[in-house]
């Protein structure tokens, strides 16, 4: 479903990715962990074209993204990036709901504007998504009237409304108050159980252990270890993984 080959990226003059490879099969759940600044967020952002990369290739559901070196991508490249984004939904750490639209409008905006979907059917679909995340009564509220957890659940629904083939979660619970983390993770868990191909960057180790088919450990722009949650959390092969895990699990 997602194939990454020999990914190189320079970040403000710094050589962040030096040839990263990863394959995500259909229906597979891959969780990226690693210290802050290790590149797991940037990695996710490369997959849906929010970050350019300078060497290598990324294939998402048959659509190929090649490295782009120029400052401003040309129209054809922009369109390829857009096609990729139509395949993968993205959920951000900061929610990024559109503040000038109600919850319902946030969800129906892209299907109607981008896919020219019929309005009534889209609203119906949006309501069922809201029911699923248990927030239907807030349909006409504005984002600033919602709690952080509610906003992130709406952001997930908004991405799902485009019927993506895969979902990317970029530290979805990092800016939430602790009591709201659970409700968001529950929604993601539900999605994973339905067989959605998913890539998650997170600091929630228990959650990673629970949902991941495979755990990928990032450090300094490199994947230092890949394995089942069982292997990684109980018997990591790399010394650096062990150091990282002992630091985060102590807390």
């Amino acid at each position: 479903m997602i194939k990454i080959r020999d990914l190189h990226k320079y970040y403000e003059g710094y050589h962040l990715f030096k040839g990263v490879n990863l394959d995500v099969a259909k229906g597979e759940v891959v969780v990226c962990i690693g210290p802050s600044g290790s590149g797991k967020s940037t990695f996710l952002r490369c997959i849906n074209g929010l970050e350019l990369f300078q060497q290598g290739e990324i294939v998402v559901d048959g659509i190929e993204l090649y490295s782009i070196n120029r400052q401003r991508p040309v129209a054809k490249e922009l369109e390829t990036m857009r096609q990729v984004r139509l395949k993968v939904g993205m959920v951000f750490q900061q929610f990024n709901l559109f503040p000038h639209m109600t919850v319902l409008e946030n969800i129906i905006e892209a299907p109607i504007q981008v896919n020219n979907a019929a309005r009534d059917a889209t609203i119906e679909q949006a309501r069922s998504l809201l029911r699923r995340i248990n927030i239907e009564q807030k349909a006409t509220s504005y984002p600033d009237e919602l709690s952080g957890g509610e906003q992130q659940r709406v952001a997930i629904a908004r991405a799902l409304a485009m019927k993506p083939a895969a979902m990317l979660f970029d530290e979805p619970t990092s800016s939430l108050d602790p009591e709201m983390v659970g409700e968001v993770l529950a929604v993601i868990k539900g999605l994973v159980n339905e067989g959605m191909t998913t890539l998650i960057a997170t600091h929630e180790m228990d959650f990673a252990r629970e949902v991941a088919d495979r755990v990928v450990v990032f450090e300094s722009g490199d994947i230092i270890e890949t394995g089942t949650p069982e292997q990684i959390f109980t018997n990591p092969a790399a010394e650096r993984t062990r150091v990282f895990l002992s630091r985060v699990l102590q807390r």
Partner: protein, 497 residues
């Protein structure tokens, strides 16, 4: 790019609406008769006894040249319409086609004869020196060395003064201001045409004539070169008016008739029927001027609203090109913004109105006013929008893109609606500023509120009370806008929706 394509018809419509008129140099005489009125260029500001607002009904102009213009029009079988312009711009305005003729005490001089045709003279003028009541040193034009002497820009009096050695010449663009300055001691003397001195200088108890009139010359009606048929027709009408005694009647009505014209204004003579002197203008009840002032205010509102509409839309186009366009388009937009913000609005207006005709584009005053103000403020609006767009969280664009939107759709649907709300209080404030800056377009022959003020104040010398009234009118129009701006700011603070 799609956005810009969508805006293109709008731009086209704007261009058509504002449309520019290229002066038609064809047969002016035939054109006048076809259109049914004669456009005569003159400056109503401080124009007595030539042309000034009737104190009984200030929406009407009176003066000996108004009477003369009516007679000329009648001779042509049409009616007369005044075309307002600053006095020293009357000939340029005539050349660009703003009027058919210019008649406003324009002296026939060799320099002017190179530019325009003149009719036969219709009045013989002399120059009169006026000094303060207590002045003893200046007894005539020979005593002016080392003195500060005021006069009107572009007059023969100015030529006389500048040719004299050691005279400090102060040039004014209105004929009333030099006498005002003389009365309060800013000047030592004023040299101007006798009819002007008789109207503004002589009635002032603080001023007196110094010596006999000097110089002599003729006022003539300026006509564009190539309009010989019109010139001949006007000469014939003038000859008829002189022969029938009608010309003399007009001059007698305005107390300007005298064979020698030297003793003319020395006579104590009582008011003749139809003559309106400065005292009558000074005493006229205030309410008679209200319709004029309101009309001026109306023009001010019209100019402000249309200019602001232009500024708001052009500013948006500039911002979108600057932020999302590719070079060199984006650099051009940046250059436009910097250029318009970095040069005075006044100069931009002069170039638009007086400069463009040199390269064959002649805008009418209203169009020049809209474009001048609108294009200038567009640069400021563009900066406000840019600040607004930059204030929208970066994640908004990423979220929109991640949902499969194109960049232009994201800008249109997600970024701009939020940026507008942030920019709105600033835009409202700019509207207030533009509203006040609209007074600058009086330099390009628009009679809006400020110009109405200077015309009325100059003919009545009631600078103070008219000043207060006009200031009050401006305030009454701008204050509601400030209230609106404040409310918008408050709403913005409450919510980021």
């Amino acid at each position: 790019m799609k956005n810009i394509q969508r805006l293109f018809p709008l731009l086209l419509l704007l261009a058509v609406l504002l449309g520019w008129s290229v002066p038609v140099m064809a047969d002016t005489l035939a054109e006048i008769q076809q259109r049914g009125y004669l456009l005569w260029g003159s400056d109503a500001e401080g124009g007595a006894p030539y042309i000034f607002p009737d104190p009984k009904d200030p929406s009407r102009f009176i003066g000996f040249e108004v009477d003369l213009a009516d007679e000329l029009a009648r001779g042509l079988g049409v009616t007369a319409r005044q075309a307002q312009n600053a006095w020293d711009s009357l000939i340029p305005a005539l050349l660009r086609g703003d009027s058919d003729i210019a008649m406003n005490g324009i002296e026939i001089t060799p320099q002017r004869q190179q530019e325009v045709l003149f009719s036969k003279p219709y009045y013989l003028y002399t120059e009169q020196l006026v000094v303060g009541q207590n002045e003893t040193a200046i007894k005539g034009v020979d005593d002016l060395a080392g003195k500060k002497v005021g006069t009107l820009s572009g007059t023969v009096a100015q030529d006389i003064l500048t040719k004299m050695t050691g005279v400090e010449v102060k040039i004014y663009s209105s004929q009333v201001a030099p006498y005002e300055d003389l009365a309060i001691g800013r000047l030592d003397a004023v040299l101007l045409d006798l009819p002007i001195a008789a109207y503004y200088g002589k009635p002032n108890p603080k001023l007196k004539y110094a010596g006999p009139p000097v110089g002599a010359g003729f006022y003539g009606i300026a006509i564009r070169q190539g309009d010989e048929p019109l010139q001949q027709k006007i000469d014939a009408i003038l000859a008829r008016l002189a022969a029938s005694g009608r010309l003399r009647e007009i001059y007698e009505k305005w107390d300007m008739w005298n064979e020698q014209q030297v003793k003319l204004f020395e006579e104590a003579g009582g008011e003749k029927p139809g003559f309106v002197d400065l005292e009558a203008s000074k005493r006229a009840p205030l309410h008679t001027f209200i319709p004029n002032l309101l009309k001026g205010a109306g023009v001010t509102i019209l100019i402000s609203v249309i200019s602001m509409a232009l500024a708001v839309s052009l500013g948006l186009i500039l911002t979108v090109i600057r932020l999302y366009g590719r070079p060199p388009l984006s650099s051009l937009a940046t250059a436009y913004i910097e250029l318009y913000r970095g040069t005075p609005l006044l100069i931009q207006l002069y170039i638009l109105y007086y400069g463009l005709p040199n390269i064959g584009i002649s805008l009418n005053p209203l169009t020049a006013a809209f474009l001048g103000l609108g294009m200038n403020y567009a640069a400021y609006e563009a900066e406000l929008y840019r600040a607004g767009i930059n204030a929208v969280a970066k994640g908004q664009m990423e979220a929109a893109l991640s949902l499969g939107m194109t960049r232009s759709m994201a800008v249109r649907r997600i970024i701009l609606p939020q940026a507008f709300k942030i920019a709105l209080p600033g835009v409202t404030n700019d509207f207030i500023a533009l509203f006040k800056d609209s007074s600058l377009v009086s330099v390009i022959a628009m009679v809006e509120l400020t110009k109405t003020y200077s015309i009325l104040a100059a003919s009545t010398l009631r600078f103070f009370e008219f000043g207060l009234i006009v200031a009050l009118l401006y305030f009454a129009m701008s204050y509601p806008l400030s209230l609106l701006a404040r409310r918008l700011e408050k709403r913005l603070k409450r919510s980021n929706r």
